[in-house]
Symmetry: D2
Subunit: 341 residues, 4 copies
């Protein structure tokens, strides 16, 4: 049985574990002020071509989203997102729990369209009753999206221009960023993100780490006392080294990208193999998440070989499911799966 | 110039003002513990045929919604509403500010359909990832709705049954309840509301009072320490008498219903007159809010005679506007308007 | 029986009621955009000698405190107050409900001392662990305090200087401001408040109005979208005229000050009379609240004539109680009381 | 240079790291539903002699406190704690950020006294204005306290009886619990905690783990949907295995207690050695935290050998500092320190 229902079924890349062991008995100061955190931050700044970037390490995705978003919004503001965005659906109301409305835009394979963002903002600011409404105060993107799709640099540029025109920050959730950066044909790089976003995070948990996300404010533009805000959200690790060492390793010798590339290659192999077998895909994803349209019979066959994520009922006879590869997927497993399906 | 853009353009029915003056120098205890509040509560209990009802007086609609809803929800729960519901659109995120997601159901002329409510709940509870989502914890209705429409007793019964099956309370926002109770053909009465709702409020501000809303928990089922919750939400008047005296007057000699009937009669006269003149209505409303579809020319004529509320652009050539009568609308003004339009 | 347990036992000054009646059938726009609100704001600006002041009308004291304080604080900040401050004790946790810690300073007859404020701030900023603590982000004063005492202009100046040095705003709760402005010997005036405070409110509820408080940002320094913040806190009246007309009346022909003076004169008469009878006072209050130290026998005599507020047990044999005069206190009642005690 | 300023300067016990490596490539379900989490929970239930206990794994102490406390309180309630409690001082207002006041009781070497708790509750419930105040809704203890001191079983029993009489839960913060359980002379065991507390947590981060705290509701009394509440607080790890495996190891072969005992033995050796050298202690702590009263000269000598935590200025000539041993402290370091001081 394979475990392809998600990309967080295994522990961490062994190089990370090795570094944890090597450094284990070093006595280091707490709360992320140790030398490994510093080193990791510097490597991330270099990778982002953003010498002035503020970098912070948190533990998980929902935690990062709620901390960043609540720090950037005033009480009368909400966050704009695709209706399929993680914050709108699968974070148990963490954003609302911190006082803010999640304002939904139409999603197109998980993405928002610049023209629809603009239309929303134009319409809002023309609305005579807007003073009785929630102000749009931030735009949230995920990249890759919840459907595995990617923005282009041109789309990010367009979204960024609109945000700057309306003076609202642009935030990108990179829980699976490694798989996005490694995708075939993408022109989005870390420096591109640093250029167009006001804040984004580089996901570790789903890309080879035990836990950990790196928040980047590329122009040294972190909100005041962001450290204290992290503490207040319960997001500050006493042993900050745990995440610092992991990111220091991920950003050494391009490990982060390497892990991403492996997962993408596995996904391509899986997708191409399934297509040859006649399977149909719900949409075209260049990253590690692949969405299939399956009949009951097809699903039974798949389920006999691997775990999967149920996505939705497409119609009476078809379901959409997700298979996810990861940094840990074994090529021999893909081969076996394709042989046996 | 008439002022029909809304139903809160004038002060209060003169019988209310008279009572305020008569009682003005009486020394009364604060915070709603005075004899007028007690009397008003008792009259409301009788009108609702709910001898055990808990009744509380608050000042305005948004305040009432945020206090009731936040008192009934656990932190992991959100409130279900029609997408057009006041709490979803025009309360500046007051519900989210108190930590809760507003979960939108499709709206049909401002109403939700029992079958769509049930479908949502069935789907939610079958969802394998529901533990990562906001739980539906309360159903919010407005009656009349934001479109002036009304539920039938049968619909309320259906909604109530579903709520009880899923053990979530049913809450009805009666900001304009007087105009609903007075509508032609309605079979919804205060005892009906008390039977099917777990909590509802009787709106004063828009139905003849200076301010004030009466929250009714019909089976003595107020949340623990609701008084303190009201205080914590800044919703407790030191001079509680101000609202108590108003509701005591409104529920003397059926004044509340009388005011409602007047407004509805004025709305019917306006509607029938405009229909004869060839105007088209966006939907059929039996209450004081009337929604017209107008061309630019028609709007210009209307605007020369009265204020109005812009609702939406229907298409390139037509807009939807709202005209609202109220307890204070003068019949001679309607006559003049219809003569001159 | 007299009702001197508090200063909100009667309705409103009759000149206010008269104006409500005169204007009752005028059709006015909602939400405080009517001409009476505008007129009242302008009169307040003049009285404060602050031509650029932003003025907003809310309904009650707790509501005003929670709206102002939550609008001025960042999430990592708390509000400094005397331990006896209303927000620390008697607002049911409204400040914490909006996410902020109430940081207590020692109280001295209800006041904070500039030197103790400075010491707190110095100590906080020297604290090596301050990044794990709540930052002081606002200073809250009440004037008169909960003990009826007053700051001097020099004290306000000192407090203001400290606040500006530390870049935190100074907020003054004037729930009973009329009684403070009218006190014998005070050198604090509205222009003085406007000079030294960043925001304060002029209390109406306890000084002759049915309800209503006027928030003043004297240098046009209201937080962005304060109107929407008011709405979000459930503090926006549809019929804003209700408070606007009251303040317009209170600030016509110095009515506000006149009401204050009456109450203070009644308090002086009561205090002097009781002193002559041998009663002891807990502290010296120049305003409408008087605090007596009473034995069980003395209390019994007082309780046979008037209601009172229990304050605290001083020792086994003595209690502290409060008697409050108001704009509505009758001089003949004072005479009767002093004759019969 | 030694690092004794805190007990989280090193990584994790090597047996934990070994287990992480052994299990690293196992494919496991996410969010704490894996077999290691189950195994760890079962071992904790056995250690607590609480077969029905609900056990949850979170990542850090502030996060655990805010999640547990906000789940147990109604909106009108606050949490009682010693004024020195971690939640009152060093959690950046996390409790208030979730809407609740922290109600302070006097601290005695970090502890609260049962008689003072009772006095507070008696006084609160006799207070005529209590409906305008924050209700005490939970009692928070830390054990060991922030001063390294411990409750006795009899004290916990007394506190528990009071809490049950007033129907408020008793919560114990065991961030350093391992050092408390291992202390000489203590009669508090895990089953004792399970008997007297309604919820407590077993701290991992400071007792040999990389991160992680285990929350125990000993009578299966977790609040409804506690999993979703954890998610909403950003406290749910996708790779729940990370904490599960650590606690599974800590509760195998009494490792948790063994680590505690080592630290306590090191603390005793350090304390006894320093006493012999003439150093004075601020209070008597039986656990890993030792508080010294030092002159400037003494501090200089200490600072030349180890890091330390500054606690407070005792008087003009004396400071209080903390030295903390841990599971990782080397005995040879203690020897060297005592020889050189």
């Amino acid at each position: 049985m394979f475990f392809w229902d998600c990309d967080y079924c295994e522990g961490a890349d062994e190089r990370i574990l090795a570094r944890l062991i090597e450094t284990n008995r070093e006595s280091l100061p707490g709360y992320g002020s140790d030398r490994y955190c510093e080193s990791a931050k510097e490597k991330i700044r270099i990778a982002c071509a953003s010498a002035d970037a503020d970098v912070f390490f948190l533990t998980g995705g929902t935690q990062t989203n709620m901390t960043v978003i609540s720090s950037l919004l005033s009480s009368y503001e909400g966050v704009l997102t695709a209706a399929s965005g993680h914050i709108a659906v699968h974070e148990a109301g963490a954003i609302e729990n911190r006082g803010h409305k999640v304002l939904e835009l139409p999603q197109h394979d998980g993405k928002i369209l610049p023209e629809e963002l603009r239309a929303f903002l134009v319409s809002f600011h023309k609305n005579e009753t807007k003073e009785h409404m929630v102000y749009p105060g931030l735009v949230y993107l995920s990249h890759p999206t919840e459907f595995g799709t990617l923005y282009t640099a041109a789309e990010l540029s367009d979204l960024s221009l609109i945000c700057r025109e309306y003076e609202i920050p642009l935030y990108l959730d990179g829980a699976r960023l490694g798989y996005g950066l490694a995708a075939a044909g993408t022109d989005v790089t870390l420096p591109i993100l640093a250029k167009f976003c006001d804040v984004f995070y580089i996901g570790g948990t789903k890309v080879g780490a035990l836990c950990g996300e790196a928040v980047v404010f590329p122009r040294g533009n972190a909100p005041r006392h962001f450290f204290t805000r992290i503490k207040q959200q319960g997001a500050l690790l006493a042993k900050g080294r745990l995440v610092g060492i992991q990111f220091d390793t991920l950003f050494t010798d391009d490990l982060y990208l390497e892990l991403g590339k492996h997962a993408v290659r596995m996904a391509e192999k899986l997708r191409d193999g399934l297509k040859k077998k006649g399977f149909t895909f719900y949409l075209s994803s260049p990253t590690n998440q692949q969405f299939l349209v399956v009949t009951r019979d097809e699903l039974a066959r798949i389920a006999s070989l691997t775990t999967y994520s149920f996505w939705e009922n497409l119609d009476e006879e078809h379901k959409v499911i997700r298979l996810a590869t990861s940094w840990a997927t074994k090529e021999t497993d893909i081969d076996t799966f394709l042989a046996e399906i």
